[in-house]
Amino acid sequence: MKKNEFDFYFFKEIKNTNDEIKKIFNLNSKKNNIALFSEVQLMGRGRTKKKWYSSFGDLTCSFLIKKEYPIAKLGQINLWILSELLSVLKNKYPLINFKIKWPNDIYYKGKKLAGILIETNIKKDLVSYIVFGIGINCISAPKNIDYPSISISKFSDNKDPISLFIDLSKNITRSLKASRKFQFVDSDENLMNSFKDIGKKIKVKLHNEVIEGKLLKINEYGHLILENKKKIIKIDYGDIV
């Protein structure tokens, strides 16, 4: 297997794609990158205590990139994964106006369509590998959740999860080969303009407080830049509420 290319794993049903990919990697850490697809994921999860609900016919997959990165690159890694996912969706559905909800969800018409969960493994001061799970609602839009959701089937018949998975794998491989350093800058207007709520007043929930302000932009490190009473506030953690 060449460097930057994936070993592929396909499953009928597993508990969690991120956990499974880490298990495979831990059995043989000499492996290169891994891409994993499962028709059904029983225990999908998001950040913190959030769950990810999906059905047979939706996309549930994970990727593991074995490469060391400085911890300072975390925000850029997040933006890079978002841009790859957005690029696949825009190529497949060019007429659809997808939006990104910070930090890592894809929305359409104000409803959640896809989500990313990024997990890393840190040894001393370096990220030793990155795992990211991607879930896309291809056919189902779960209702038992606290946000509105939508599926691809509402706007297209081209909703095959395998095809999306292959496109994602190709895009990521191409991107890894082209740029080994995640040199992400805010000149990627296409991505930056895709963020939801730019120019609008938003609230961000942090640990024990809620910060309000006008969302000016997302900077090249993936931070939210807000303006509140002529003060500029940079936020790298939290949830837009």
């Binding site: 913190t48 205590k49 975390l74 997040n78 997990e119 493994n121 840190i122 640990h207 953690y237």
Partner: protein, 144 residues
């Protein structure tokens, strides 16, 4: 490190005793950084540092060593001691751990980051609680 500091304390006391003798003092309080020495002349003419002060200084040294040897947080975020709510903790006090073993997760920069052991050993102290915010360089876990 502890031995070196203890030797320094003894040297300091000796010098202070000489200064008291020279100047005919019966009591002297002297501070240097965090160390505070109070010496009193006993009736039999022997000088002694108060034992509770020695103990206090030793405790401070021990705590300092604990913090210095602990695995520090490489980033700012929220600490999670188990993989998901209600699940078993990654590690418990007294547990043997190996290099590379996951000790806790820190959520930062929108990612869940597994923090791994930097050496083999026994978990002697866990400095952070579940879901607590952590700062860069803050001690997380002591492995000895």
């Amino acid at each position: 490190m502890t031995e070196k500091i203890n030797k320094k304390i003894l040297d300091d006391i000796e010098q202070l005793s000489k200064a008291m003798e020279k100047n005919g003092l019966s009591e002297l309080t002297y501070s240097e950084g965090k160390a505070v020495y109070t010496l009193k002349k006993r009736e039999n003419g022997v000088f002694s540092e108060f034992p509770e002060i020695v103990e206090k200084n030793n405790k401070e040294i021990k705590t300092k060593n604990l913090l210095e040897n602990a695995l520090k947080s490489p980033l700012v975020g929220t600490a999670y001691l188990s993989p998901e709510p209600g699940a078993k903790k990654f590690v418990e006090l007294g547990q043997n751990v190996k290099i590379g073993q996951v000790l806790l997760i820190i959520e930062a920069m929108k990612t869940m980051n597994e923090i791994t052991a930097d050496k083999n050993g026994i978990v002697k102290k866990i400095f952070v609680s579940n879901e607590a915010p952590v700062e860069f360089g803050e001690p997380l876990i002591l492995i000895e």
